[in-house]
Amino acid sequence: MAEIRLETLAHRYSPGGTYALKPLDMIWRSGGTYALLGPSGCGKSTMLNIISGLIRPSEGRVLFDGQDVTAFDTGRRRIAQVFQVPVIYRSMTVGQNLGFPLVCQGVPAAHRRKRVEAIAERLGLTGALNRPANALTADQKQLVSLGRGLVRDDVAAILLDEPLTVIDPQQKFELRRILKEINAEFGVTMVLVTHDQTEAMTFAEEVIVMNTGEVVQAGSPRDLFERPLTRHVGSFIGAPAMNFLPATAQGGAAVVPGTGLSMPLPEGAGSALSLGFRPEHARLATADAILSGTVTRLWFEGLDEIIAIRHPAGEIRLRAPAGTGLVPGDTAGIALDPGRLRLYLDDRLMA
């Protein structure tokens, strides 16, 4: 239960080499849930390993509740880390696994047993306490990994390094629910690393989107959805991705040629303009359509339908309630609330 503060933190794996993690400052409040989201190799695992102490950062400091822990060993940082592959000590029973961090700390046996039983009860592992940990299913093993972190009285934060990747979809949902409950119950700071946007958006109150070693945008899931700071975030978050159409400057406005899409252009903005909007914010229309094109593909998504429309300016996708009756080859028009339109200059959000 600690506030985590990263001060001008950066990391290079070799001196003078390129940054695996570019300098950044960040404060994570105690008891919050955070997700580091990004493609493979974006530096999110590096960041997590720096916080847990498995990697010593080449620049900057890590503070837990104001205390500088940069030079501390992993064991002294009082954090728990759950890895992508479930890690259990296979020669031990579930109970011994859960108690292992306490054994390492030299906690007396009686207290240890009490803690292990309490945590096992919380995680629904009571019945399995005396079973060999190796015999558990993957999701139960992940619970044991998590339990090893929770068993300490003084755990500062739980770091989750893509812990749901190898879990069956059914159990994934269940495990995520348990994680959220534990966060609410114990008030422990949780940081989740993932490349799955749904996982990040449903789990965290703040999502940190990373790309090529830097933080592109940090904010609430709604913020990321409504106002992606870069085109990269817009495409990475949301399914289907945000629509972007190239625009040109025409008399103080950015206009997508051949459509009714336009936005006032701030002074001095020049080339490489584009306008973007979410597929969810567009709707099919005939009378007030601001652009129309040929339907090229349709995807069925339960109550919704994703419709791809080809227009000379580019391909547009929109999400519409199922039952439109459209087939590829039809002509369809779309309408859009102007307030939902975003202007990007050189791939960065302008307005």
Partner: protein
């Protein structure tokens, strides 16, 4: 359907019968004869050879000595090999160097290497005793005292086969996943606890494999004894295979040595199976759960 497929198996099966089954069956037949240098040929001696073996203290002593020799040398090889593998595990340069260096004892012919060791151990001409004198330990009767001769055989065995353990266990260590080590670090485990709780359990299966391969090989030890001590002084370093060699090839008691060989084969098969079972239970915990 497709009964013809067995025709294609036939050549292989015939070779198998000729190479494995026939010698085995022939040995069984020979062991019930009293074929020796005076009465060569297959006669019917019933179980006379087995009765003689039962009384032959020299054979049972050799068997006991062999057990002691193989168990102790394999254990020492395992401990030393594991320790060396752990030492160079994280060092890429050291790993390359030792991997090549350690192949040398294994690639050397046992006879050649035993001749070299016999020279080293030679009590008046060999280099070992002067060295021991120089560092104050004093010369030792390496090959002329029973205990020392036994130790000499052990040293040569360990010297030759520790690299094998090292290479196998190093390969095992290199194949271990890194996550358990990270988890142990996060949980605050020190190096010793990490070894006992993470490394050793994960190395269980490969350890059993390495120990068994060596135990099977060690149970047949022969060349080292033959060259180094010829089983002496007296019979103090005689192992089963060397004793069978004496009876069969030197005294030409074919029937008797066949009986000895068969018994030896059965005892070894049973013993090694039991050892394998015990090791699996002891070292590969959790794997079969």
């Amino acid at each position: 359907m497709y009964r013809q497929k067995y025709i294609f198996l036939l050549p292989g099966l015939l070779v198998l019968i000729a190479v494995i089954l026939f010698p085995l069956l022939f040995t069984i037949r020979v062991s019930f004869s009293s074929w020796d240098v005076y009465n060569p040929g297959l006669n019917n001696a019933g179980g006379a050879m087995y009765a003689r073996m039962w009384e032959d203290a020299r054979y049972w002593e050799a068997l006991w000595r062999l057990s002691l020799l193989s168990v102790s040398t394999v254990l020492i090889q395992y401990v030393l090999g594991f320790a060396l593998a752990l030492l160079v595990w994280r060092e890429i340069a050291a790993r390359r160097f030792f991997r090549v260096l350690f192949l040398v004892p294994m690639m050397t012919t046992p006879v050649v290497m035993s001749v070299i060791w016999r020279t080293i151990f030679h009590e008046s001409l060999g280099p070992l005793n002067p060295i021991l004198n120089a560092i104050g330990i004093g010369a030792q009767p390496w090959l002329s005292q029973p205990g020392f001769a036994f130790a000499a055989v052990m040293i040569v065995e360990i010297w030759q086969w520790t690299p094998f353990m090292f290479l196998l266990l190093l390969a095992g260590l290199l194949s271990l996943p890194s996550e358990p080590y990270l988890a142990a670090k996060v949980d605050g485990a020190g190096p010793i606890r990490t070894f006992l709780s993470v490394t050793f359990p994960m190395m269980g299966a490969i350890s059993v494999g390495a120990i068994l391969i060596r135990a099977i090989e060690a149970s047949k030890i022969m060349e080292t004894v033959y060259v180094l001590t010829s089983g002496g002084p007296g019979t103090s370093t005689e192992t089963v295979s060397y004793y069978i060699y004496i009876r069969g090839m030197r005294d030409f008691q074919i029937g008797y040595s066949a009986a000895l060989s068969l018994t030896y084969l059965i005892i070894m098969a049973v013993a090694l199976t039991l050892i394998a079972k015990a090791l699996m239970r002891l070292m590969v915990r959790g794997a079969n759960a």
